[in-house]
């Protein structure tokens, strides 16, 4: 149908816009739009145009709900705390609307309550290869098992958090969304698949949920004002993810001794005057600058005038092209949505071809390890004006680092432990954005925009006498420096055991003298180390764990809490398998029983992971 002013309620201009927009929409987009309009009709307010074109929701049009039962359950599966923060926000809003809200981590949730739930909202992030967060795994597995109840009386909505630069973007959210539908639940708001800059989209989703539940007034204000929902961690401090604190650098040094082939920065920042505080296990969000050389190379490749002023966002903020590239946009990661949008501008045959159905493999291969400069050079994008191309980019995301200090031991300070990433790929030197910023362009006296990201899933035991086992090779040792400093400061009496590993003893033993002192003082009970390049045999932490399997098992039997921090792919999985093996070997458990044991430990938070 072709809209005209005469055959529709629209003005000529509106009709023309709709005529341009509607034929190009995919099936999913139309379904989503239909649901969205229905819901907003009910709330009587339409937010600023949602920028959710990437969200691939499959949903029935959401029906306006009249008499909803007042019980609401909000479940979150959170690794770094973002999903948790959003869930908390939603719960607060719902409570304010008079709903009877149960807010729970999936890890803590008693699954036999599920069939009684009338309104279920699920917020979940996705890890690495499309996996759920650790503490969500048991719930995820339960819901996908035969034991999961039919949920015909349940209304639900799902929000996923992810990163479009990963292949399995928001996979856990998608899985929950699909599964709840399979179990007969009724989707009342289409799923939101949020990218790393999630605030705006998440705010809209919360608004939709509220309105779908029939409480319009509050929903409108939430949806219309993203800042109101964005700050998920605010406490006393006015500083947050969207309003980071400019922390002064107190110290920035290399922890690796001369002769090392690695560089690990120990950065001490001042939080004085920020009102920010944190607990061991929390992370610090850092907004880095892009590498000036990469920015100059992009300017050269495009011929853009670096001094030209462009508009950055809807608020009308402006910056020079150079500053925008340096501070505002993500220029080191390519995503499929970005390429799709660029293809719309560029009219480049090969780029179009790469995006065709059936070339997913090739696309993935191309995206891997390439940046904006590659894209510009490979597809001759120099002719696109700066403001047009830049407006397609994601905002530069904050980097999260496990904090390596204890706020109690070092008041008003926060310490980071960051390994510099630099490597050659596709014929060019590549840099980790934040790590190289810290390593090469940050001196004492400079400031760095930061915020605290609380992480309830990586916390010292409440009971200070509980033994802890910490496995943290490389920079994974960061939170354990925080743990031990905290336990020293608070005089905690629980035993502690640290497994650390890296390449070489002589140069790569991060914080060596501090561990030595803590061992001497008895704050740290035991420490085992593995250095992979000191001998012919590549020895890693899991090998040391296995060598000590009897004692490790005894500690676990005594109720020790296990912590694993660091690389997921190469370390955390091996450590997990090793723990299983230790349970089989020392506890005489079957393979299944060992897996079940660890699963229970995860659920009971006796096994906590902060892996990346």
């Amino acid at each position: 149908m072709e809209f005209q002013a005469t055959n529709s309620p629209f003005t000529g201009e509106q009709a023309e816009l709709l005529n341009r927009l509607l034929p190009g929409l995919t099936e999913t987009q139309r379904i989503w739009l239909s649901g969205y309009l229905t819901a907003s009709l009910h709330t009587g307010a339409i937010a600023a145009a949602p920028t959710v074109a990437s969200s691939a929701a499959v949903a029935e049009p959401a029906a306006p709900v009249a008499d909803v039962p007042k019980d609401v359950t909000v479940l979150f599966g959170s690794q770094t705390g973002n999903a948790q923060g959003l869930a908390k926000k939603l719960a607060q809003q719902l409570t304010a609307q008079g709903f009877d809200v149960t807010l729970s981590s999936m890890g803590d949730y008693k699954t036999n309550n599920l069939k009684k739930v009338h309104n279920l909202f699920v917020l979940a992030s996705t890890q690495g290869e499309g996996d759920p967060p650790d503490n969500a795994i048991p719930f995820y597995e339960f819901l996908h098992s035969k034991r999961a109840p039919q949920l015909a009386e349940t209304k639900f909505a799902v929000l996923g958090l992810g990163d479009t630069s990963y292949e399995f973007f928001c996979q856990t959210g998608k899985d929950f969304d699909k599964r709840l539908e399979e179990l007969g639940a009724e989707r009342i708001v289409p799923r939101a698949d949020c990218d790393v800059d999630f605030e705006e989209q998440a705010g809209e989703w919360i608004g939709q949920v509220l309105s779908a539940l029939g409480e319009a007034s509050a929903a409108a204000s939430v949806a219309a004002s993203p800042t109101a929902t964005a700050s998920v961690n605010e406490e006393a401090s006015p500083y947050s993810r969207t309003n980071p604190f400019p922390a002064e650098v107190l110290e920035n040094l290399n922890l690796n001794g001369r002769g090392s082939d690695q560089e690990t920065r120990h950065v001490e920042l001042s939080l004085e005057g920020s009102g920010l505080s944190y607990e061991p296990g929390d992370s610090l969000g850092v907004y880095p600058q892009n590498h000036p050389q990469l920015v100059e190379d992009i300017l050269q490749a495009t011929g853009w005038n670096g001094d030209e002023t462009i508009t950055l966002n809807k608020n009308g903020d402006t910056a020079s092209v150079r500053d925008a590239l340096l501070h505002h946009y993500e220029i080191t990661v390519l995503t499929k949505p970005l390429l799709e949008k660029v293809a719309g501008l560029a009219d480049h045959e090969q780029l179009d071809a790469l995006l065709e159905e059936g070339r997913a493999q090739d696309l993935r291969a191309y995206l891997q390890g390439r940046d904006l400069l590659d894209l510009i050079q490979d597809y001759g994008l120099g002719s696109i004006p700066a403001d047009e191309l830049l407006s397609l980019l994601r905002k530069i995301p904050a980097r999260l680092y496990s904090i390596s200090s204890s706020f109690k031991a070092s008041p008003d300070e926060v310490h980071l432990t960051v390994r510099k990433v630099a490597y050659e790929q596709h014929g060019r030197q590549r840099y980790g954005v934040c790590s190289v910023h810290l390593a090469e362009r940050l001196e004492a006296g400079d400031t760095l925009p930061v915020y605290i990201q609380h992480n309830d899933n990586f916390k010292l035991p409440q009971d200070a006498s509980t033994p802890i086992i910490m496995i943290g090779p490389g920079t994974g040792v960061a939170p354990f420096r925080s743990f031990i400093a905290e336990r020293e400061e608070t005089g905690a009496e629980g035993k502690s055991w640290l497994f650390f590993g890296d390449r070489r003893f002589a140069t790569d033993f991060l914080y060596q003298t501090e561990w030595q002192r803590w061992l001497k003082d008895g704050v740290l009970t035991r420490m085992d180390v593995a250095f992979s390049r000191d001998s012919d045999k590549k020895v890693y932490v899991q090998h040391r764990m296995l060598e000590r399997s009897r004692e490790l098992y005894e500690w676990i039997q005594e109720g020790a809490v296990l912590y694993v921090c660091g690389d997921e792919k190469h370390m955390a999985n091996d450590v997990h398998l090793t723990l299983e093996q230790i349970l089989i070997q020392e506890g005489k458990l079957s393979q299944e029983a060992a897996a079940e044991y660890l699963s229970t430990m995860l659920q009971q938070k006796r096994y906590q992971r902060d892996v990346y």
């Binding site: 922890l255 002589a506 140069t507 060596q512 003298t513």
Partner: protein, 574 residues
């Protein structure tokens, strides 16, 4: 005669090191465990004290100390490993082993020491066991290379008198073996020998010579063959001077109570030259050595380590007491000392044919450091020579190297390798450089107060300019430098010496005897390079014009009144 109490003193506590040794179960301590401790590359100080007796001690790279401290890393701990060979003689296979472990476990260089031993630097704790095992597999040892025991027995390298050298060398080995510690701790810890668990067995392995607390301090023995005093026989706790009559070794003069070490600012400590007390026949040598060692064991000071060397034991009681105590223990008397004549304590470079028809080539090795430099591949050259050489290598007491026992047939091949790698006999260097020695000092030595090995060559560059001006380029002058006053390069016997006082600052001493028989004396205190050069310039010039025929620099400075002659250490500070 006055009777002295044994294991003195009794009115003051013995030093902590005495306790460590006494409680060590014959040098075992807790080394097995602390060597395994994976959290640190160090061992505790108590074990380090014991470790010395096993031929190694802990050091750290002092260049990196402050930097690493900031980086929250412990000091760059590493071990110095000393490999001893009586008289400094090793086979080509042993040389190749040293070269191999220097690259595998050390810092890629070998240091020849002033006691004819090898030193490896930079060995990490984790590699010690393999390193020591490989040393022993090649029939060398590190046992007793340091510590409160008899150290490597030195012996004149004597390129000329082959037959006498062979005999003297043989006695050096016998004395050394006789005084080796008997504890099995070394074999248990490093060579995986089965452990002695039964305490009665432990008692049974007692040290018949040393006892459970070993000596109060290190003990040094050297054997000289006149006219060469290359071993600096008067610096030894116990020296033997070979007496050769009509080409035959008839016996040795015995000299006691030498020693170099002192402490800056403590005049109760001083270097001393030994005194000749009589003559013995060769077959009496082991008996004398053992009895002298037991006297020091029984009477050396165990309270104050810097007063524990044999020289103080003797000086406190008098030489007569020592001689009669020795006679009593021997049950017989030394004969009257025979005449002898030393000419020099330095090395003579280049090719020499021994009386047995074999050839020897003495190579100049700057400060004893075997290393490949960009323009001088000394280490590679020696490795290539070792691969074809069928004779021996001899480490000289002046940190040089002799390629010894070369047959006439092999000489050509060795000569061509020497030429190929440009290995030098030092002929193109100034005589001052050819007669120079420096200890290791910074960055590895924990006692160093100033640079030595890394600085002396540069200082000599500058001194050479003065010598050239004075026309003294080819005048043999013995110059030595150490980073501290413990005396590893025997600086107190040099004609000109520098002893580190602080960074860039040295005490300058003049007047040692060219034959190694006279101590030198402090001339300028705590001076830097500029003052060293300006104060030496006029002395060199006067020496050039005023010296008498054949007068050595050390003798001249005394005659000219710059310093007084010191024939006894008790006058060193006077």
């Amino acid at each position: 005669m006055v009777q002295y109490e044994k294991y003195p003193p009794h009115d003051r506590p013995h030093s902590d090191v005495e306790d460590i040794k006494r409680n060590s179960k014959y040098l075992r301590g807790s080394l097995e465990e602390t060597l395994r401790d994976p959290i640190t590359g160090s061992i505790p100080e108590d074990d380090n004290r014991l470790m010395k007796h096993h031929g190694s001690y802990m050091q750290d790279d002092r260049d990196l100390r402050n930097e690493r401290k900031k980086q929250k890393l412990e000091p760059a701990y590493q071990f110095m490993l000393r490999v001893r060979a009586s008289g400094g003689i090793v086979t080509p296979a042993q040389w190749l082993m040293m070269d191999d472990i220097a690259h595998k476990y050390g810092n890629g260089t070998i240091r020849l020491t002033t006691r004819q031993s090898f030193q490896l630097h930079g060995v990490l704790k984790w590699n010690l066991k393999n390193t020591i095992r490989e040393v022993n597999d090649a029939l060398l040892s590190t046992l007793a290379a340091c510590g409160d025991v008899n150290r490597n027995v030195m012996c004149n390298t004597n390129p000329d008198q082959s037959a006498v050298h062979a005999q003297v060398y043989d006695w050096a080995c016998k004395v050394s073996t006789h005084l080796d510690p008997r504890t099995r701790a070394y074999h248990e810890i490093w060579l995986d020998e089965e452990k002695i668990i039964d305490s009665r067995e432990l008692e049974a392995e007692q040290e018949p010579i040393y006892g459970a607390v070993y000596l109060p301090r290190k003990f040094k023995i050297g054997i000289a063959v006149p006219p060469s005093n290359d071993v600096d026989v008067f610096s030894q706790d116990l020296g033997f001077i070979a007496i050769v009559e009509n080409g035959t070794l008839v016996g040795f003069n015995v000299a006691v109570g030498g020693g170099m070490g002192m402490t800056h600012g403590d005049t109760a400590t001083y270097p001393q030259v030994s005194k000749v007390i009589g003559f013995i026949t060769p077959d009496q040598m082991i008996d004398v050595a053992e009895k002298v060692v037991t006297i020091q064991r029984d009477y050396g000071d165990r309270a104050v380590r810097k007063h524990a060397r044999f020289k103080y034991t003797i000086d406190d009681r008098g030489l007569d007491w020592l001689v009669s105590e020795l006679h009593e223990r021997l049950g017989w008397q030394l004969q009257e000392a025979r005449p002898y004549q030393f000419d020099h304590n330095g090395d003579r470079y280049g090719w020499v044919k021994g009386s047995n028809g074999k050839w020897l080539f003495t190579l100049f090795v700057q400060n004893g450091r075997i290393v490949d430099l960009d323009d001088y591949k000394l280490m590679t050259g020696l490795r290539e020579i070792a691969k074809v050489h069928t004779g021996d290598f001899r480490l000289t007491p002046n940190q040089n190297l002799i390629i010894g026992d070369v047959s006439s047939q092999k000489k050509k091949k060795i000569e061509s390798l020497i030429a190929q790698y440009g290995l030098t006999d030092g002929a193109h260097y100034s005589a001052l450089r050819r007669n120079s020695m420096a200890c290791v000092s910074l960055p590895t030595c924990g006692m160093a107060m100033a640079e030595a090995e890394r600085y002396l060559p540069t200082l000599i560059d500058k001194l050479e300019l003065e010598l050239d001006q004075a026309g003294l380029r080819n005048e043999d002058i013995v110059v030595r430098m150490t980073g501290c006053p413990n005396g590893c390069a025997r600086p107190m016997l040099a004609e000109l010496s520098f002893i580190g006082k602080g960074p860039g600052k040295y005490n300058m001493y003049l007047g040692g005897g060219f034959d190694g028989s006279r101590l030198n004396k402090l001339y300028r205190e705590n001076i830097g390079e500029e003052e060293i050069l300006s104060s030496l310039k006029p002395i060199f010039q006067r020496y050039a014009t005023e010296r008498t025929d054949g007068e050595h620099f050390g003798d001249f400075v005394i005659r000219a009144g710059y310093v007084e002659a010191v024939h006894d250490g008790r006058q060193f500070h006077a």
